[in-house]
Symmetry: C3
Subunit: 317 residues, 3 copies
Amino acid sequence: MKQFFSFNDVKSNYKELLNKALDYKKNPFTDKHIGENKTVGLIFFNPSLRTRLSSIKAAYNLGANVWVLNAGSDSWTLEMADGTVMDGNSQEHIKEAIQVMSAYCDVLGVRTFPNLKNKDEDYNEVILNKVVENSSVPVVSLESATLHPLQSFADLITIAEYKKTERVKVVLTWAPHVRALPQSVPNSFADWFSQIDFVDFVITHPKGYELNEKFTNGSQIIYDQDEALKDADFVYAKNWSSFTDYGKILSNDSSWTVTKEKMNLTNNGKFMHCLPVRRNLIVSDDVLDSDSSIVIPEATNRIFSAQTIFSECLKSK
Amino acid sequence: MKQFFSFNDVKSNYKELLNKALDYKKNPFTDKHIGENKTVGLIFFNPSLRTRLSSIKAAYNLGANVWVLNAGSDSWTLEMADGTVMDGNSQEHIKEAIQVMSAYCDVLGVRTFPNLKNKDEDYNEVILNKVVENSSVPVVSLESATLHPLQSFADLITIAEYKKTERVKVVLTWAPHVRALPQSVPNSFADWFSQIDFVDFVITHPKGYELNEKFTNGSQIIYDQDEALKDADFVYAKNWSSFTDYGKILSNDSSWTVTKEKMNLTNNGKFMHCLPVRRNLIVSDDVLDSDSSIVIPEATNRIFSAQTIFSECLKSK
Amino acid sequence: MKQFFSFNDVKSNYKELLNKALDYKKNPFTDKHIGENKTVGLIFFNPSLRTRLSSIKAAYNLGANVWVLNAGSDSWTLEMADGTVMDGNSQEHIKEAIQVMSAYCDVLGVRTFPNLKNKDEDYNEVILNKVVENSSVPVVSLESATLHPLQSFADLITIAEYKKTERVKVVLTWAPHVRALPQSVPNSFADWFSQIDFVDFVITHPKGYELNEKFTNGSQIIYDQDEALKDADFVYAKNWSSFTDYGKILSNDSSWTVTKEKMNLTNNGKFMHCLPVRRNLIVSDDVLDSDSSIVIPEATNRIFSAQTIFSECLKSK
């Protein structure tokens, strides 16, 4: 595997990778030879808890070494634009930075958030693409401007573990938040689960929160949350800012908070969220603290999604 | 061992652990198998030098991997209160954060300072208790609001190494400082050394600096520093802010600085301090730079106190 | 090897070390036993990308563990002066800090920049000397106030790899920049390459930018950049602030930028820079993006310069 940015990169073999991840969960250290004499490099342009620690753990499970760079605080301010005379604040061009960093590792993970101001820049994945262009080793997205594939893969592992029937209904629901958040998690979730063969996928959100059709792949959108949740096996809550009115908060309607009453509409459904989650805003305490919440196993599976992807990257190197 | 927060956690077997630590000092890598395929997670809510590096070294000595998280700068702002609507600055509840972080390691070390404003909150160890409640793996205090047990254990190792007689007199003395400091080190030192069987323990400080009786266990308090230091085998200096007039600085009396003259009152006593130490405020240069100072061996022993505790935690997991 | 600060430390055996580095490049993991049960400690008083990551990778290649400390943000504010009453902002004296940190590792790397305000303080290497005085393990400069020896060693490896003739002409050229930069890289480069036996070394810069003669060792200085570049096999560009008018920017003459036209004056010369480099200020895009640029192999060789030095230090310990 040379890159892992979106469902496209695993579309042909996602079932095989899913089985591999489930195997890793049972036997985390079975492939310790794969990482021998290998180094996983992790670059964070933005803060991270789960991605940072689960990626480190994943590397350790494979017997690999790790380095982590907080871009900015640990090193230099990077220039992204080509052709500029660098007489301002930027101290190093991303071209050199990535060429060099990729020389110091065997697979490169990169986290980079959208700025939510320039839709084209974000949706063209300007930074991620510069990373790929300049890296001499496989690149893994640790969340990019528009997608969060390691999260979606962990979500797939989790749903595969908890599903009780052949087919399951999975509902992605918008929920309120006080800050304008990226669309990367819902984009990614929609992209994956609209294409997983055992899933009936539904999206629900207030009008104006339509995600980019590139990622929803014609999924059913139901604007009435109660109707959407009916008979759901899995409820995946997430806030996002508007894609059409780019980066804007259009609603803070607290009736979209996922409560016990909402969960009662489902088929004894499981509650999921990528975390961090704002309690009593996205979801009520009584849901998050109940047995129907599987956010912790979901976060735990971040280890095995990363381990599977790193393993594929290290083998292909 | 499921937790290590105070002397209580080792009261029944501290002599055995002390011997183990002294063995580790002689043969640091003898238990490298214990950490195989294991990860030590370290979370710092506050800055740290010795605890950070000695804990990392301790884990390496056991053959374990390590990750370190600077809570706040590396990740998200945590909410501590239950039941709140998280529509403010806090991005993640400590409940989820700790459940998730403990899923990514085999033992969890946590450093968290008191705020020195709310005595009840500090002395109820609100943060540490939330960590314990939510952790799925053993938790080790890397200094909490009220105690610093890895330091006290290192102090015990050091005194055991340097004592020349069966019984020794150990004096904990307050010393002046310009900032209001936690009581965690002196609380912890008092809690341990008031219960170590080969120690005659005395505390000396200006009036108003009485420590919480919960930790002093009826130790002798002598308000005259000169009298207290008489015939001392070990002088343990430390500043702390007032417990009774909570978090306040009541004195900056420079006559409490530990000087050569003060040390001359002792039984050729050794000078100890947990570090960082402010020179010529807590202790004069001529003491700290003399042979009677054992602050560096004391700091070195932090490796072996941590190694012993991590070892016990990893075995019990 | 007990220390690595300047060319002096390797003057007697640099050819042997060069061969060792070239061997490591071919077989990075051949000496994995040398780092077994060993820990490389890295302290950064200033930001770093290449040095940080290449040093970590070097340690991993030797089978060693690593810890990294960002002095200041991770730990405490250090006091450098002797004899002061520490009642200000400094929380720990560098004496204790280094004694303790060196107790937690087997070789200590330290990065410390000049302040560019007090020439004597910088050129007396006050901080580095305090580190050496107080360290119980070998100390490696990760760039000091006046020198950057791991960079110069990597430059030597690179020139040895790319040279096509027995003797080569190497030109160090000043180039413009918007900020006042240390002289450590050019000092160090001059100190090494004025003493490498297969090199004809020339320095070119505007008047007033003369480096300390202690490091130039009587090298030829040509103030006309075009003349200096004539027939050069390697062009090493770098900005530095004035040594004589200490820390000042005396010129921002853009005619000193290394362009295609300038490179055409050379003997099909290779372009080098230690990075980070400001594009179109130090060097034009068309040079940096051309085949004559070897800045990425040069940065890659930072791994092998560090690996060779760490290896020597760990063996001597």
